[in-house]
Symmetry: C2
Subunit: 330 residues, 2 copies
């Protein structure tokens, strides 16, 4: 079998292709529809999902070049969801740049997002594969689930009681299925057996959950410099993360009063609120509990990968990827 690509090789392949596509898109008429798409695709990001698709394709001996359109499809879709989410979440900044609805306006953001969703299908449908209908069905199911995840996330804002299971299901839909779907699409493009395609999907789900739990943790406990953005955002927004939900579950009466006080207070000093909530999280040992939960998912991800029928050395890039996105040294 041919030597495998590194993650960096694959990310570079995707980046090069996206630059080329974004340029072409930006020159298409009507410019008010297509330039915001060029702007969005040029915002950057780690291009992890398309790289994951290509890695899974490579793992099963598929042709990475033939999978590139599907990889672009996944990235275009992901960027479409960010674009529309930013309208819904009133988020004005994305990757240190004005969000599309701020740089242009809301109508532009709605319509160019709609066009990106369709464009994702157009890239996918350029793919030549006997499995194209099955792959496009998986892509659609995944896309639908991402919408469901976003809806649950918005629902939770106005819901007083959210269980930890509800939360895990929400992040499964909003984050994990697109990672898992990218892996599985890559496997299907390589004509991997269904059982293995399902295992690599399972790997993606567990990895996605592990990653999101860790991201929630970093939002509170990271050193700001390493994290790259301000910490405490979730606390200020009363976001119902694993940490908050677990805290409400474990808190003693006094801690519960304190937590509810900060959740309900309209007028506060942001740093004071962050410090107070963080103090309760620390008292409840939540950094450790949350790390353990994330680690559970990480371990079951690796187990799923182990079960995949492929030479052990071909799995190394995927193990390395998992370590990298979990920021683990070992």
């Amino acid at each position: 079998m041919k030597p495998m690509f590194t993650i960096e090789d694959l990310q570079q392949l995707v980046v090069d292709r996206l630059i080329q596509e974004a340029r072409r898109i930006g020159q298409t008429q009507p410019v008010n529809l297509y330039q915001p798409i060029e702007y969005t695709l040029n915002m950057g990001g780690k291009r992890l999902r398309p790289a994951m698709l290509l890695m899974a394709c490579d793992l099963f001996g598929g042709d990475v070049d033939q999978a590139l359109n599907a990889a672009v499809a996944v990235e275009v879709f992901h960027n479409f969801t960010l674009l529309h989410d930013d309208i819904m979440d009133l988020a004005d900044i994305r990757r240190n740049q004005p969000a599309v609805h701020k740089k242009y306006n809301e109508n532009v953001a709605i319509l160019s997002g709609d066009a990106m969703s369709i464009m994702a299908y157009q890239y996918l449908l350029k793919t030549e594969s006997p499995a194209i209908q099955k792959i496009t069905q998986l892509f659609s199911k995944t896309a639908m689930e991402v919408c469901e995840g976003q809806q649950y996330d918005m629902d939770f804002e106005n819901q007083t009681s959210v269980s930890i299971n509800d939360y895990l299901e929400m992040i499964r839909l909003k984050t994990a299925v697109l990672i898992a779907g990218s892996f599985k699409m890559g496997a299907q493009l390589a004509m991997a057996p269904d059982a293995d395609a399902d295992r690599i999907y399972g790997f993606g789900i567990s990895l996605g959950l592990a990653f999101q739990l860790q991201d929630d943790l970093l939002d509170v406990f990271a050193e700001q410099v390493k994290f790259g953005k301000k910490t405490g955002g979730d606390i200020l927004a009363n976001k119902k993360t694993f940490l908050l939900l677990k805290a409400l579950e474990l808190a003693n009466p006094e801690q519960k009063v304190q937590l509810n006080h900060w959740l309900n207070r309209k007028d506060f000093n942001p740093q004071e609120k962050i410090a107070a909530v963080k103090k309760i999280y620390t008292e409840l040992n939540l950094q450790e509990i949350s790390r353990q939960k994330s680690d559970e998912y990480y371990q079951s991800a690796l187990k799923e990968l182990q079960a995949v029928e492929a030479e052990i050395n071909r799995k190394e890039p995927l193990i390395l990827l998992a370590k990298t996105i979990m920021k683990r040294e070992h």
Copy 2:
């Protein structure tokens, strides 16, 4: 060959299926995502586009039952575009009911629209056909063009000079391609030869343009009772229709001053503005000029249909459909 379905048969088939699907969708979780889709699909409408798809399928001897998922896809997509257009156009009423962004809220309208667009693909991809990839590509191209049409329409609002060709290209994209695409998808499902699929597409484009020109005309000159909605809306909104653009082209200096006066005036009595602009249209014989233009397209639609390789009597439902939507007696 088996006897053909009437338009009414096919509309009924679509209506029955949509009722069933809407009920199922409305019971899906999360309800805040899916109930607005049920609401939208239950708003009614003539279901012309899905019926057109089935008619073309029937014309070429295809299996109408097997084409039903594709027909539903086209209708779901069409309703998605109406839903998002209503947000962008600040339109609060759709088919005498509150628009989704009014009945629920804007975020709900954005996200459930996004989900409908994906759902349209899900229906289409249920279709079993050797041509499924080609058909899904045509559907995507059409969907993209509808977005382009909507963008041009919004662009024209802020553009001082719009040519009649610009306008015709806009309505081709915004209205005609989905009609044409529906016909062609039906033809492809029936495995019609490419040349015939292209001819039925051409039939749809010309018919769509004829219909839109007539609709613009009715917006000004219809008897309100027959038209079913208030006339003069386009005049009040300064919509750059064929009538207005042609009027600006043909007007004498005095008429041009009058027209520009009404276009620029911020404060006016609506009935007075409608009457004044309508008077200029009448002086310029625009009712006749516009009717002629629409008739040109109608005739070339029939010509395209004539060129289709099929028994003449199998084309009769399509000729009848064309007459019906053009409200013609002969």
